[in-house]
């Protein structure tokens, strides 16, 4: 009759023998599995590394900025150059500015600040809202009226 203590010992220590060659085969399979897992994890690390770089906010911002700048440069190179003042003759602009300066100077000499103010008022009157389409005759009429007044 064996006691519970002896039974515990027997269950815990009952011997077993495993075949050496078969053990080696199993171990080789496990080692192959380990090598395979190592390779998989290496390739996984490479992928996750590149992904983690893109995930960083600063890198993403820089990447977006670079793409925008590149796109802008490409578009700028392909578009035709725009004129600085479309439809404006630089000589005419300069002439008008001179006339305005001379006109203000003459007005000041003639009647002081009051005359200058009148000149301003006239200018504002002339630059009233215009209809979207003006004929040449309309423009000439308006200029004549201004000249008369």
């Amino acid at each position: 009759m064996r006691s519970l203590r002896e039974i515990e010992k027997s269950v815990a220590k009952a011997s077993l023998r495993s075949d050496g060659a078969a053990n080696q085969k199993v171990l080789n399979d496990l080692l192959t599995e380990l090598d395979q897992a190592k390779q998989d994890s290496l390739s996984g690390h490479r992928l996750s590394g590149s992904r983690s770089i893109v995930r960083r906010p600063l890198v993403r911002l820089a990447l977006a900025a670079a793409i925008l700048i590149t796109t802008a440069i490409v578009i700028d190179h392909h578009l035709p150059p725009e004129p600085t003042h479309p439809g404006a003759d630089p000589r005419a602009v300069a002439r008008v500015e001179t006339v305005n300066a001379i006109g203000l100077n003459l007005a000041y000499r003639r009647g002081g600040l009051e005359a200058v103010e009148q000149q301003y008022m006239k200018t504002f009157k002339n630059s009233k809202p215009r209809p979207p389409r003006l004929s040449v005759d309309d423009l000439l009429t308006e200029l004549t009226e201004n000249g008369d007044s």
Binding site: L4, E8, A12, A14, S15, L30, L31, A37
Partner: protein, 189 residues
């Protein structure tokens, strides 16, 4: 106590090396725990083929999940739990009570040519006795005595209170004792 601490430290070191893909560490772990796990698997399943598959599967799973693995308790306990889960999931374990003769036949006469586990006479008798227990009792007795797990850990595995696991152990061990001593008992809790 010192010996136990040394074993735990050695296991931690082996796991640390194995996690970095060291082949020697895997060989050492395999050689260290192979026979214990095979004995445990045979006791649980009463079938050498199932036991061999379960042990190999447990090691394969351990290798595949090595990067996420953190050794908190004993390595043997972890591997024993893996083996127990494999055998449970295999569905080939004989939960219904196999007869003593049937169980004896399972581990001795039905040896396949490619079978690599040879049980001693004593182990055959123990396996045959364990096969007569309800699976839950067999699992507690085996995991406690052969896997070295604590009752708390076994209870977690079985999802029962610790007291239930303890009760199953006592009852199961008593029945094994009676069977090995040639007595007849009834304790199927």
């Amino acid at each position: 106590m010192l010996e136990r601490c040394g074993a735990v430290l050695e296991d931690k070191f082996l796991v640390w090396r194995m996690k970095r893909g060291n082949r020697e560490a895997l060989c050492r772990i395999y050689e260290k725990y192979r026979d214990d796990l095979l004995r445990l698997a045979i006791s649980l399943s009463s079938d050498a083929a199932t036991a061999e598959d379960a042990v190999q599967d447990a090691f394969t799973t351990f290798i595949r999940g090595r990067e996420r693995f953190e050794l908190t308790g004993s390595l043997k306990g972890y591997l024993a739990t893996c083996v127990a889960n494999r055998i449970r999931n295999a569905g080939r374990d004989r939960r219904s009570h196999a007869s003593l003769d049937e169980a004896r036949q399972i581990v001795s006469e039905s040896q396949r040519p490619d079978q690599w586990v040879i049980c001693s006479e004593e182990l055959q008798r123990i396996v045959a006795a364990l096969a007569r227990l309800p699976y839950e009792q067999r699992e507690v007795v085996t995991l406690r005595l052969q896997g070295g797990l604590k009752f708390r850990e076994i209870a977690e595995l079985q999802q029962v209170p610790t007291k239930t696991a303890l009760s199953r152990y006592r009852c199961g061990l008593q029945k094994v004792r009676s069977l090995l001593n040639g007595e007849v008992t009834r304790c199927d809790r």
